[in-house]
Amino acid sequence: MPFIPHTDDDIAAMLQTIGAPSIEALFDEIPAALRSGERDEIPPALSEQAITRLMRLRAQGDEQPSCFIGAGAYDHYIPAAVWQIATRGEYYSAYTPYQAEASQGTLQVLYEFQSMMTALTALDASNTSLYDGATALAEALLMAVRANRRCKSKRVLIPRALHPFYRRTVRTIVEPQGLELIEVDFDAASGQTPVERCAALAGDQGLAAVVINQPNFFGVLEAVDALTDWAHEQGALAVAVVNPLALALLTPPGEWGAAGADIACGEAQPFGMPLSSGGPYAGFLCSKQALVRQMPGRIVGRTLDADGKPGFTLTLQAREQHIRRSKATSNICTNQGLMVTAATIHLALLGTEGLEQVARTCHANTARLCDQLCALPGVERAFSGAVFHEQALRLPQAPNTVLERLASEADLLGGCALGEHYPELDDMLLVCATEQRTEEEMQRYATALATILNAA
């Protein structure tokens, strides 16, 4: 019996102790009419060997060519040590560290993660993860609305240049609580979100929060200082959504504008998490100290043990559902602990310098690729705003057709067509060349695109 250690002798002895005639008898409180049997729709058991064969076959079919898609998930190099350590049984098969004394390993890793995220964001406090970037933003907005006592409304300003899937997810999660999401459009020339457009939407009841995305979905860098200051002038909290890798180079949210963003959140996937068709990743959320009691999710604190030795424990649990139930800051319980473990190891391996090198290389690769592509007739940078490591390009042919041909003819995934999410941008392609992309691959892209465009 797979995974079940019971011998016939064990079963007999155990039933005798229980005083039950059979295992079946242990289910005698279930109304007989409700009982069901084996389901033919479920296939019969496979041995480990057989399922391995099946899964290897399926995985082989999914092996993808060189990837120039970014759009919220990025192909970064993950050092071999990261997952060899993160999958050690002691991390992999432990639960949430409720018994602190028997979980110092996980707890310290989480504290170190918090320390790394506060260092990157220049904020005071971090939680130990939310499900992903989009849900982190949803939680950040709920948190901001709860925390913002100055503003009576639940109105939140969100840039349209924010990832469309973030906006969709946020809507699902926050609308039942009556938050009103107001989208502010980007400037068609720069790709940025101008303060003036925000101002036009401020309205009478005020804004509880303003979302500032750096870089935005188009890779474009926003004027974060002005936006933050403007948000604060409105009495709104400034909620930053950032690519944490970009923070190796960019002004951290805690230093935006005069007072700094109040909350920063985003997707930690660039820190050691495989692309894996979209998950598991990890959302992060940092804030100023004053807001920490409104934070959702687990938080680890350093304290002392009975001998006065420093140690770690979950803290501020009174915010959480298992204590506060219907009054909790969030319903989140299981989060993304293992991914955070990987992220912590990943960041420790890279260090300040390594992370900066990765960020710089991504920036340089994307710039180089775009220089090559924009040398082709009819291809041009779609927006004038500076970018981090993604760039929207305007193509002289339908992006979807170009993508199909790039895949079949040059064995590469050329980017993300923008038309599906922004109908008015249906001639645009969003490309990203991380540090994983080689000269040869970029050259191949340029050559193939030249052929495709020529042929038309």
Binding site: P2, F3, I4, P5, I11, A13, I18, L26, L34, S36, E41, P44, A45, E48, I51, M55, L57, R58, Q64, I69, A71, A81, E90, Y92, S93, A94, Q99, A102, Q104, V109, Y111, T118, S126, H163, T169, T172, T251, E255, S276, G278, A282, V300, T303, T315, E320, R325, S326, N331, C333, N335, M339, L347, A348, G351, E353, Q357, R360, A367, A407, L413
Partner: protein, 491 residues
Amino acid sequence: MLIHDQSRPGRRASALAPSQAPEPTGIPAQLRRRERPRLPEVSELQVVRHYTRLSQQNFSIDTHFYPLGSCTMKYNPRVCNSLAALPGFAERHPLAPVEYGQGVMACLHDLQEILKAVTGMSAVSLAPAAGAQGELTGVAMIRAYHLARGDHARTEMLIPDAAHGTNPASAVMCGYQAREIPTGPDGDVDVEALRAAVGPQTAGIMLTNPSTVGVFDRNIEEIAGIVHDAGGLLYYDGANLNAILGKVRPGDMGFDVIHMNLHKTFSTPHGGGGPGAGPVGVSARVAPYLPVPMVEREGEGYRWLTEADRPETIGRMTTFGGNMGILLRAYVYARMLGREGMARAADFATLNANYLMARLQQAGFELAYPQRRASHEFIITLKHEAKEYGVTAMDFAKRLLDHGFHAPTTYFPLLVPECLLIEPTETETKESLDGFVEAMIAIRREAQEDPQRVKDAPHTMPRRRLDEVRAARHLDLAWTPQQADEDGDGQ
């Protein structure tokens, strides 16, 4: 010592970074950060050694019996991990064309089908990232269902007092008021109280069955009738599905919406706090509201169903549609169990729980519901021990660590005083359970003879008992450079 305390300026694990990259001249100076972030600067060996040693300070399934009630800490097969990590799966971009995703989509599709069959629901979406998100999703679908029918009066979600904290929290996140229903003395929901509570304001009820007191609610059909008659829907919190897998199906019990904790019943790793996966299943009338994406079979291949295909969907739950790597693990596990293995999990989880319960009772511990069968878990109350020896459930829990056992869940559910919620799971041997009983007996004896020793526990862990009050009062949530300067050489 923190990894930060080992940092020295200029030290690097430099085989890992790409070679010298140029200045990012494309980024305007006013957007560049002024000071570099203070991440640890350490060598690769330091990182490996630090996190290897830290790991050894954890209890885990792979090292210890871990009977944490409501959490189903059973063996996480190692092969699930290695197969989900195959490059074809791990390196696939979420937005890669479906032609490069037929493998993963076949697995997801098959998993949807397996989950439908085993729960008796008519449709499943794998989108939610964990159990609590499954709840949010489920309640949002209930809300969508009522609203679509123009029924705006339903503002209350009924929730038994024994319920997990996520239930009321999720209900509130969806804009409902959570209304508590008491549990009867035998552990079943108080049907009369329920009857009194329902009405036109009732959106539904959230039930865990077997419940978190570890018993199967014998009145489930009656309960379903009461709620349905009042126009409400039944929500099934599937955290305890392991107890009834292949035995009875939530769909057959009358539930309209369920979530499953695949990291429990389908043995994906808990990872020190996740990731999980919380697929939702629904009856036909709720199906239109399922979150996207879902996978559909089309001819020989598979495609994503998105908002375009499902206009009434409540939407997306995460950016890219779920914890795929976890779903793959669950799929591998489900295939290894197979149709015959599903019920077997329930059989032996239940056998282990009832055996452990019987042994503890025979050893003189008091059961919360002595007249009932245990499902896959059960509760003992240490209120006598607390009263007579001044030794609490928490003291027992801490002392168990010294005996090499992770503590059961303590002080949950809230309605039983000084309780331990004990869930051994099917993958533990009789010897493990017997060892646990011996430890409990030894601790009780010690509580009589030397209570202080129990109160001071643990004694053999990397740390003695941690001061949680201090942690909350003197918040220390992150290492800072200043701290390092003050501390001198750290700790």
